[in-house]
Each structure stands twice: as structure tokens, then as C-alpha cells.
């Protein structure tokens, strides 16, 4: 008899209740149970960073945590970044303006990592951005435009204060 566990997760401010097997990864919960497919799954062993989400504010790999472990917790995914439909957040807009993506597969994970990073460090150096980015693999851009985008977002966020 497969164990099933009731869970309640708050994702981007909306509460979701499901009954799941303990072995269901949080990444699969987001994509298959509540149909938020913006969180991408790359390597599924914690190396690529594509599945990065924010758990209680902190960026973590959603492929390395079981959904049952997030019971009662608050999760932010890429779908929650934009202030409204048809708009982009400052960080997202900077990625568009600085050509910070090509195929875009890694982008949701990078946005979630960097949204937390810029809250913690609003005036980062290029080195600090590169360190913060080290847990997210991109196979298209060579990273320069991603770094440019993050620095552009940091500048815009400072100017808007």
C-alpha cells in the first residue's frame, strides 16, 4: 500500500492542497500536480539549477526536496515574479533588454536565484554576481549577458528607490 500524505503548500500566495506520495519531488509537484511548468527540470540531481525556486524566501533546488517536506511552507516560482499579466519585473525586463537569455531553459532558475541575491545585495560587484550565478548552468550565452542583465537590474532597482 503506497503511503500518501496530505500536504498544503502556498505557491506564489495561493494555497494548494494535495495528497502525494512521499517520493514526489517538489519540482514534480509544481509541474505536474499544480501545473506550474515555469520551473524547469534539467539534471534532477542538483547540478544545473534550472529548478531553483524560493522556499520561505531562500533559493533552493526543487529537485532535491520532497513535496511532503514543504508542507505548510511558502514557495515562490518564476510565475510569481511579474507584477501583473503582460508585465515584467525589473529583473525580467533587464534580462530582456540585456539579451540575458537565448533558449531560455535556464532562465527561470536564474531569475529565482538572482531575485533573492539582489534583495540581499543591492549593490553587487561583477565578481559577486558571478559567484551568485555559479549554481546555475547556462549552455547558450556564455554568461556575459546574464551578468550584464543582473547588473542592469541592480542599477534600475537602486534608481527606483
Amino acid at each position: 500500500m503506497t503511503q500518501r500524505v496530505p500536504v498544503t503548500l502556498t505557491v506564489n500566495g495561493t494555497e494548494f492542497r494535495r495528497e502525494v506520495e512521499p517520493r514526489l519531488l517538489l519540482s514534480d509537484f509544481l509541474r505536474h500536480e499544480i501545473r506550474l511548468s515555469g520551473t524547469h527540470v534539467g539534471c534532477e540531481h542538483g547540478v544545473c539549477g534550472a529548478c531553483t525556486i524560493r522556499l520561505e524566501g531562500a533559493p533552493v533546488r526543487s529537485c532535491l526536496i520532497f513535496a511532503v517536506q514543504a508542507d505548510g511552507m511558502s514557495i515562490a516560482t518564476v510565475e510569481g515574479l511579474a507584477p501583473a499579466r503582460g508585465q515584467l519585473s525589473v529583473l525580467q525586463q533587464a534580462f530582456q533588454d540585456a539579451h540575458g537569455l537565448q533558449c531560455g531553459y535556464c532562465t527561470p532558475g536564474i531569475l529565482m536565484t538572482m531575485s533573492a541575491f539582489l534583495e540581499e545585495n543591492p549593490t553587487p560587484s561583477e565578481d559577486e554576481v558571478r559567484h551568485a550565478l555559479s549554481g546555475n548552468l547556462c549552455r547558450c550565452t556564455g554568461y556575459q549577458h546574464i551578468v550584464d542583465a543582473v547588473l542592469l537590474a541592480a542599477r534600475r532597482l537602486r534608481e527606483s528607490v
Binding site: 512521499p22 511532503v68 549554481g135
Partner: protein, 288 residues
């Protein structure tokens, strides 16, 4: 859904967690931060029948200082320890080494106890524990025993933990006055496992003479590797460039790197010498 099915327990107390492990032994695995175990489960390399999830056990994540000595709870997450002001003051090598442990996202989940219990010989913190002469509190349902870090790491992914035991507390002795520490590594990319890493701790007397030294390396053998001969060679010297170069030369022969696709054993040995020299110089400067 990649991992094989398992039975999940999330006890709220340490006593409950230890009772579950006592009842199920090798069948059960403790789940701490999950940053090594869950990838292994996703690959189905690890297929534990029972997971005892420690993330809801209260009181296992404290940092307690007593006269410069530190007691760290096993479930302390890397990111928290990395930013802990007390640890930064008493044992700054912790944050210096943690900065090199994987990536920020991993450090937000990974725990110090889980990392040490996993006992990956390439991992930074086991070597740091040897250099700091750490002692570990290992508990089972019946009580606790204390084991020195030097006796804890037995082989790759193998420790002195018995099937019913959990590493619950890491105990770091106070660093004496005029001590300096440093951790340095070389990895292909930031956050990768190092090809070689060196942790160094030195203590000087008032006249600038070295009266204590400990050095340990990661990615240097089947376990974290201490270099007692190199450390002994430093005693009684003023840690001049020649003294340090001689110790680094000894250290090159004390490590037993296995070689990998990234680095031959010879190159790892070379790195060990270079990093030891740099780390000792840095530690000396910080001790003064």
C-alpha cells in the same frame, strides 16, 4: 517521480528519530539537508526503505559558544553557519571554507551534520574538522559517545557511525590566542568539488614562534587527510618562507590523492604543496 518508493517519517523530537533508527537500522536513512542523499535517490543509487526526515526535529541547529569553543547542532544549515557572527569570530575558517561548498542554493539546504556524515573525501568540511581537532557527539537511543574527527572518517562515504547512531553535535575547541587559520582550494569552477583543498591552523607564541600547527587536505585520499609530519616540522620555527616551503614539501608526500579525469594524482600533489604554502602564509599573517 524518480526516487524508488520509501516510507517517510518526520519525527518532531530527537528521541523519536533515534527510536525509529534503532527499530529499522540499515533499512532506514536519516534525511538531513538532502543535498547528497536525494541526488543519490534520484539516480536510484540509494534506495532506502525508510526515510527518517530530521527537518522537523527541534533544537538540532544551534550555535553555542563557551570561552571560544563552539558547539554546532548537526542540522545547522551551511548558509546559516556561513553567516553566523559568533562562528566568524571564534573560527573564521568555517565561513571561509563554506564559501567554497557547492553553491548558495545548496548551502541554503545542506547541513553541517549531513555533510560530515556523508563523508565525501572531496568535501571541504571534513578536512576543516581535522584541522580544528573537532570532536563529534554521536547519539543513539541509549546515550551518547564522543569521537574525534580523526577517528570518525574511515573511508569514502564511510564513518564510525553505527546503524543506530546519529551525529548530533560538532564540538570545536577554542583556538588559542595568536592563532591564524586559512582554507584554500583549487576547483575547475566555483562550487565544484576541489581538485585539492588545504586547511591550515597555526598558533604563535608572544615572540612569534610557532607552538602549534595542524594541516588537513580534502580530495587528497580515501578520507580527509591530515598532514602531521608537515605540521610538526613547523613547530619551533618562525614560519619563515623557507620553513613553510619545507613543510609544504613534506605535505606533498603525506597526501594520497587518487587522481581523476580532472587532475592526475601528480598534479593534485603539486597543488597540495602550492596550496599548503599559501594557506600557511595566510594563516601566519592572520595569527600575528
Amino acid at each position: 517521480m524518480k526516487p524508488a518508493p520509501f516510507e517517510w517519517h518526520a519525527p518532531a523530537s530527537l528521541a523519536e528519530a533515534l527510536a525509529l533508527k534503532a527499530a529499522h537500522g540499515e533499512e532506514a536513512r536519516f534525511l538531513a539537508g538532502g543535498q547528497s542523499l536525494v541526488p543519490a535517490m534520484n539516480f536510484r543509487v540509494a534506495q532506502p526503505a525508510i526515510l527518517v526526515d530530521l527537518n522537523r526535529v527541534a533544537g538540532l541547529d544551534s550555535v553555542v559558544e563557551e570561552n571560544g569553543a563552539l558547539r554546532l547542532g548537526a542540522m545547522l544549515r551551511h548558509a546559516r553557519l556561513e553567516r553566523d557572527a559568533t562562528a566568524a569570530r571564534t573560527h573564521p575558517i568555517l565561513a571561509e571554507a563554506l564559501h567554497e561548498v557547492a553553491h548558495p542554493q545548496i548551502r541554503n539546504r545542506g547541513t553541517i551534520g549531513g555533510n560530515l556524515s556523508h563523508a565525501d573525501p572531496a568535501s571541504e568540511m571534513p578536512a576543516v574538522m581535522l584541522a580544528l581537532d573537532a570532536r563529534f557527539g554521536l547519539r543513539n537511543a541509549a546515550g551518547e559517545r564522543e569521537v574525534a574527527a580523526a577517528d570518525f572518517f574511515l573511508g569514502p562515504l564511510t564513518t564510525a557511525l553505527r546503524p543506530d547512531e546519529m551525529l548530533t553535535e560538532i564540538r570545536l575547541p577554542a583556538l588559542p590566542p595568536r592563532s591564524g587559520t586559512a582554507f584554500l582550494e583549487v576547483a575547475r569552477r566555483q562550487g565544484d568539488y576541489p581538485m585539492m583543498g588545504v586547511a591550515a591552523v597555526v598558533t604563535l607564541d608572544a615572540a612569534g614562534m610557532c607552538i602549534a600547527a595542524r594541516i588537513a587536505c580534502c580530495s587528497a585520499g580515501p578520507t580527509p587527510v591530515a598532514a602531521p609530519r608537515a605540521a610538526a616540522a613547523l613547530l619551533g620555527t618562525r614560519l619563515g618562507e623557507a620553513d613553510i616551503a619545507a613543510a609544504a614539501e613534506l605535505l606533498r608526500d603525506e597526501v594520497e590523492p587518487l587522481g581523476s579525469v580532472q587532475a592526475s594524482a601528480g598534479y593534485q600533489r603539486h597543488l597540495a604543496g602550492v596550496l599548503a604554502r599559501r594557506a600557511l602564509l595566510l594563516a601566519k599573517g592572520r595569527a600575528a
